[in-house]
Amino acid sequence: MSEPQQAPAVLLLEDGTVFHGKSAGMIGAATGEICFNTGMTGYQEIFTDPSYYGQLMVTTNVHIGNYGTKRTEAESYSIKIAGLICKNFNIEYHRPMADMSIQAYFEEEKLVGICEVDTRAIVRHIRSKGAMNGIISSETTDLAVLKKRLSQVPGMEGLELASRVSTKEPYTFGDPHAPLRVAVLDFGIKQNILNCFAERGCFMKVFPARTPIEELRAFEPNGYFLSNGPGDPAPMDYAIQTAKAILAEDKPLFGICLGHQLLAQALDIPTYKMHHGHRGINHPVKNLLTGHCEITTQNHGFGVHPDAIKDNADKVEVTHINLNDNSIEGMRVKGKRAFSVQYHPEASPGPHDARYLFDDFVRLMQN
């Protein structure tokens, strides 16, 4: 519940809809594309996931901050969402293992948020009107000013964001003496992907998004990995070309989320901007190869075109579908050792049902 000194805050959406609430985190203003996540645990992992770069996050879970924050549970070194929109922002927390409160964390990370708004109404709005830009402000609630600022925010479609969150310098991760070596292209990778590889005996070199293929090859990897990340894959020509080059090389290739979309693009299968995306930790996916189902973590606003994938049945095979809307969740390239999934098998937050995909990749590299 609010502390009396909390400043008033406002959320203004591109279509003119306004929500009044109170400030959470730092006093200031933040812009981005509004999206919602339905997970009931793992707020810190969500906030630090680079795929959310440039987005205003609505959390549908009504209490945020209850168990504080813990440095080791971050998915990257900093908060990546552009702003937070929630119902109850709990400054008071309890968890003996935690490092600090969410308020302290937000202040340290200079994140602006708004709380005590009808988050369910906002979700229903996005659900019917689709994703759109918005602005949160606790420094001014003058709508005319905010409207002007909002008009300068670019739309997500056609926006290349991966290179902004990618590592600037290459670095290695894992045990250098591990039996397998993976060249990781970082478009905004989550920490837990690296952890999942390391646990399975992989040594990784993580490369900036725009690294040319030659440098990746120089690492002499057993396989390549295309990471998750923010933004629209379509304008990422540099990465699409790298993916094409990897495919030509015929070494094992694994892509997650944005990596999945880039692999599709490399096969000339277009991607599209979804109405309001999939974000949460309860999305049902069916593995068409095994018939088994898995509950998955998802975070994507773009998807691989289902019709186009059908037209390219000679090149790719759909391996996973979403049981809610039949959207494409995974594919493999025919005649190659390359596969990808739209969702997040590394989870964090979310269920571990799909971790077997890392094992599959390791097996491909071992053979």
């Binding site: 519940m1 609010s2 929500f19 919602f36 339905t38 997970g39 009931m40 645990t41 793992g42 992992e45 549908t60 879970n61 009504v62 209490h63 209850n66 168990y67 813990k70 549970e73 119902k87 109850n88 709990n90 008071e92 927390y93 309890h94 968890r95 003996p96 293992m97 708004v117 009808d118 988050t119 369910r120 109404a121 979700v123 229903r124 659900r127 949460g280 930790i281 309860n282 999305h283 049902p284 069916k286 018939g291 088994h292 189902c293 509950i295 049981l323 809610n324 809307d325 989870a347 964090s348 937050p349 979310g350 269920p351 571990h352």
Partner: protein, 938 residues
């Protein structure tokens, strides 16, 4: 895998009479399963001897057997019906035990019956504590250190090895019966002896007590392809040490990080998959050390359990319905989410609200019982509340309890002595959550409260926030002074107008008036399983004070049914049965049916029962807001027991139409003085009585009527604090005790008719005609609460004259009271003279029993008569009597070992069974009749 075509006809086993630990949630699961199978074209046969259940009604099943849950009954069913498979997972431990027993006797094999939805080996494994413990260790999960003991000596050795504090858990008992904590060595011998004797296998587990660890429960579903989903995660606010049935629980988990939760999820799935091969529901309990976040498995129930009903209501996901479909071969990915109808049933519900479940205890009814909570479940019912903050849900739960509380405190019932409060924090009882707030109000440090209660500091801090808000509120003089923002904050934190009024020492109406003037009104949000990600089709709503209202009233004519709140002694499942039939009748009559109740165990609050469901406290403020939004034709109060009836006066005063008998008539029947005057006018005998405001008046009344007298407070349920006393000294003592516990109440004193026979009639009156539904004669003499008596339908020993007199009085009274709908009249017969004891202008406990015994849809008829859409003459009522039906009370005394088991005017039974006998030579009847005077030593 699609539906298995070889299953055409299924037998569902119910859970029998209601006892503590196994209540009407199994009627909910059984009914849902039955409907689920029938919609697949499967013929459903149901066996259960609980006549108050909706599952045993023709609206639920194709063929119903109201037979005792014994192997003999199962054989009879199998002889008479073509059954392909039996589904034993919907009727709790009782149904499972019966299935196991029938299996041992080779019944299933003999009749070539498949057991579906269950793996008996899995059940066996989870029930056998030692085998279970070993199994968990084998699959790599942690459990509390423990040792099994089959003898006193082994138990002592185990204690020596494990150390104190420890837990004793008897094998194969229900609801923790016989178990308990042992903090010190000197308590150990008695506890061990008790545990060994309670276990049917003379086996106990001596386990290290992880007191103060946090407790969580996961509800899982698995299909035949081994797909598993977690439907709900529930956090126990009360940490390890209090039975989960007696704990305040919260969903979603409030204090769990994703790291800790995912480990729990992984372990739960691993454990479920390791338990044989069955398709259905499963419940797993974990404890977590708050310091290290180390996890241990506490127990697993591989079946639909008590918490499945709660999880279904909490998430909107109908677990029993889906579990039934999984049992006949479907896999989760082949089924649709029943709420959205478009997305998959294979998913994990997500909540954008908080639910709080609070148990309802009835210690008052068990004189001498130990109120301290522990391993053994003692509550008799529960409520669930939904809010957009934890505080709102918590306070709404308090408002739902019907304990005369207006919320979490701030209602004149606070304690003020710190020493008493601290003691109650350490020794948890039914009021602990209220005492936590009292302590915070008095300035006890949060740390101390945490140390005494081990409640997670996050919850304590939330309650502290309430204390701070109250301190701020008390700085205002009148409601007009409160600024809108703060007023909203108060309401969003769940404060009722009544609480705000108490804190400001003003009238509730003033607060309500000002609130409405400011436009602070309840909005309604949908429970949709998916946090609004997808559009839902299910009109299941709760109130809050958020901006957007999603409940848009239709332009159809509507009728609201008020439910009966939490189950308790004297008011339980039978009213759920009545409400379900009421809803069906309303729909049949062309109205939109709207249900209001807060009891998660009920069928009437299932997502597809009413046209619209408001899961709300049966509390004036919440009701009024629904009325103002929906503008119904009227409200039915006759079907929800005394709880609903109590709201009749306010409805009447505020100008809302009560469907059926109007308030003045109800009041006439309920008001002892006015009613006796009516009887006098009509020349109907009644026991001499008087009303007293103090002990002197009471003594005067008793002197006039003569001893023995029946003494009770007015306006209570189930004969609470009702006693028969034989002299002045006893009378004085009891009257003083009533005034002490119920200050401001009045005491009713009736002359007690010793050794009289007791009888009762349920009837329907449409204003012109009276239809006698049934006449029941009690086997036990007057003086025992009717709910605790064995009632025989029809009468078996009363004279024709007496019966005719009762019928005549009923007809006269129903008309004199202007009854439109139901009435129940209780009689005493002494020396062939008929006395009227009381009249209840509503559905009674026995209405479902009569409907079952005579196979007449009486509640449907009564509802249509109430609404005025039909007259009695419109129905062709053909009761099908055959021999006698006996309603037999069932008790849960084993939960209260030290309690006085004497029966008297205060009701103590928790449930009932029905027995049919052909004639009075039946040995069952003869045994009951032989024992009729032995009630004092039951």
């Amino acid at each position: 895998m699609p539906k298995d075509p070889s299953i055409q006809s299924v037998l569902i086993i119910g859970s029998g009479p209601i006892i503590i630990g196994q209540a009407c949630e199994f009627d909910y699961s059984g009914s849902q399963a039955s409907r689920s199978l029938r919609e697949e074209g499967i013929r459903v046969t149901l066996i259960n001897d609980n006549p108050a259940t909706i599952m045993t009604d023709p609206v639920t099943a194709d063929k119903v057997y109201l037979l005792p849950l014994t192997v003999e009954s199962i054989v009879q069913v199998l002889e008479e019906q073509e059954i392909d498979a039996v589904l034993p997972t919907m009727g709790g431990q009782t149904a499972l035990n019966l299935a196991i027993e029938a299996g041992k006797q080779g019944v299933w094999e003999k009749y070539n019956i498949r057991l579906i939805g269950v793996d008996l080996n899995a059940i066996e494994l989870t029930e056998n504590r030692e085998a279970f413990r070993q199994h968990m260790i084998d699959i790599g999960l942690s459990v509390a250190p423990s040792r099994i003991a089959n003898s006193f000596l082994e138990g002592k050795e185990a204690a020596q090895e494990i150390g104190f504090p420890l837990v004793i858990r008897p094998s194969y008992t229900l609801g923790g019966t016989g178990g308990g904590f042992v903090h010190r060595e000197e308590q150990f011998d008695a506890a061990l002896r008790r545990g060994l004797s309670m276990s049917p296998t003379h086996e106990v587990l001596v386990e290290k007590a992880v007191l103060g660890w946090k407790e969580f429960e996961l509800e899982l579903l698995r299909d035949s392809k081994d797909n598993v989903v977690i439907i709900c995660t529930v956090e126990n606010l009360d940490p390890m040490g209090i039975h989960t049935g007696d704990s305040i629980t919260v969903a979603p988990a409030m204090t769990l990080s994703d790291t800790a939760y995912q480990q729990m999820r992984d372990e739960a799935i691993l454990a479920m998959r390791s338990l044989g091969n069955f398709a259905g529901g499963c419940n797993i309990q974990f404890a977590i050390d708050p310091e290290t976040e180390k996890l241990i498995v506490i127990e697993i129930n591989p079946r639909v359990s008590r918490s499945s009903a709660l999880a279904s209501k909490a998430t909107g996901y109908p677990i029993a319905k889906i579990a039934a479909k999984l049992a006949i071969g479907y896999s989760l990915d082949e089924l649709k989410n029943q709420i959205t109808k478009t997305t998959s049933a294979y998913f994990e519900p997500t909540l954008d609200y908080v639910i709080v479940k609070m148990p309802r205890w009835d210690f008052e009814k068990f004189q001498g019982s130990d109120h301290q909570l522990g391993l053994q479940m003692k509550s008799v019912g529960e409520v669930m509340a939904i809010g957009r903050t934890f505080m709102e849900a918590l306070q709404k739960a308090c408002q739902s309890l019907e304990n005369n509380r207006m919320g979490l405190g701030a209602d004149m019932k606070e304690w003020i002595r710190t020493a008493d409060i601290l003691e109650r924090l350490e020794k948890p009882s039914e009021d602990r959550i209220f005492r936590v707030k009292d302590a915070l109000r008095l300035g006890v440090p949060e740390k101390t409260i945490h140390k005494l209660t081990r409640i997670d500091p996050w919850f304590i801090r939330q309650i502290k926030t309430l204390v701070k808000m109250e301190q701020r509120l008390m700085r205002y003089n009148v409601p007009e002074d409160i600024e809108e923002g703060f007023f909203r904050e108060l309401k969003e934190a769940g404060y009722s107008d009544a609480q705000i009024a108490w804190l400001m020492r003003v009238e509730e109406q003033e607060v309500a008036r000002q609130r409405k003037k400011m436009g602070i009104r309840r909005t309604y949000k949908m429970v949709d399983t998916c946090a609004a990600e997808f559009e839902a089709q299910t009109p299941y709503f709760y109130s809050t004070f958020d901006k957007e209202n999603e409940s848009i009233p239709t332009d159809k004519k509507k009728i609201i049914v008020l439910g009966s709140g939490p189950n308790r002694i004297g008011q339980g499942i039978e009213f759920d049965y009545c409400c379900v039939h009421g809803l069906i009748a309303i729909k049949e009559a062309g109205y939109e049916s709207i249900m209001i109740n807060c009891n998660p165990e009920t069928v009437s609050t299932d997502f597809d029962m009413a046209d619209k469901l408001y899961f709300e406290p049966v509390f004036w403020e919440h009701l009024e807001e629904v009325l103002e939004l929906e503008k119904p034709e009227g409200v039915i109060v006759q079907l929800g027991g005394q709880t609903a009836l109590k709201l009749a006066q306010r409805l009447h005063e505020q100008g809302y139409k009560i469907i059926g008998t109007d308030f003045p008539s109800m009041d006439l029947a309920e008001d002892r003085g006015a009613f006796s005057n009516l009887l006098k006018e009509m020349d109907i005998p009644y026991p001499d009585y008087g009303v007293a405001r103090d002990a002197d008046e009471a003594l005067a009344v008793a002197r006039r009527t003569g001893y023995p007298v029946l003494v009770r407070p007015s306006y209570v349920l189930g004969g609470q604090r009702m006693r028969i006393v034989i002299n002045d000294a006893e009378l004085e003592r009891h009257v003083l005790s009533i005034f002490k516990h119920l200050p401001g109440n009045r005491v009713l004193i009736d002359h007690f008719l010793e050794r009289a026979k007791e009888a009762e009639i349920d009837a329907i009156c449409d204003g012109d005609e009276v239809h006698i539904m049934g006449i029941m004669e009690h086997i036990e003499p007057a003086g025992i609460h009717s709910g605790d008596s064995s009632a025989v339908l029809p009468t078996y020993s009363l004279s024709v004259e007496a019966v005719n007199t009762m019928v005549e009085y009923t007809e006269k009274l129903a008309k004199a009271l202007n009854i439109k709908g139901l009435i129940n009249i209780q009689f005493a017969i002494k020396d062939n003279k008929v006395y009227v004891i009381e009249a209840n202008p509503r559905a009674s406990r026995t209405t479902p029993f009569i409907a079952k015994a005579y196979q007449v849809p009486y509640l449907n008829i009564a509802t249509k008569v109430m609404m005025g859409t039909h007259k009695l003459k419109d129905f062709d009522i053909k009761p099908r009597p055959g021999g006698f039906a006996i309603k037999v009370p069932v008790f849960s005394f084993e939960k209260f070992p030290n309690v006085d088991k004497n029966l008297g005017p205060e009701m103590k039974s928790t449930g009932e069974a029905i027995r049919y006998i052909r004639d009075l030579s039946d040995p069952f009847f003869r045994e009951l009749d032989r024992q009729r005077y032995m009630y004092l030593t039951r």
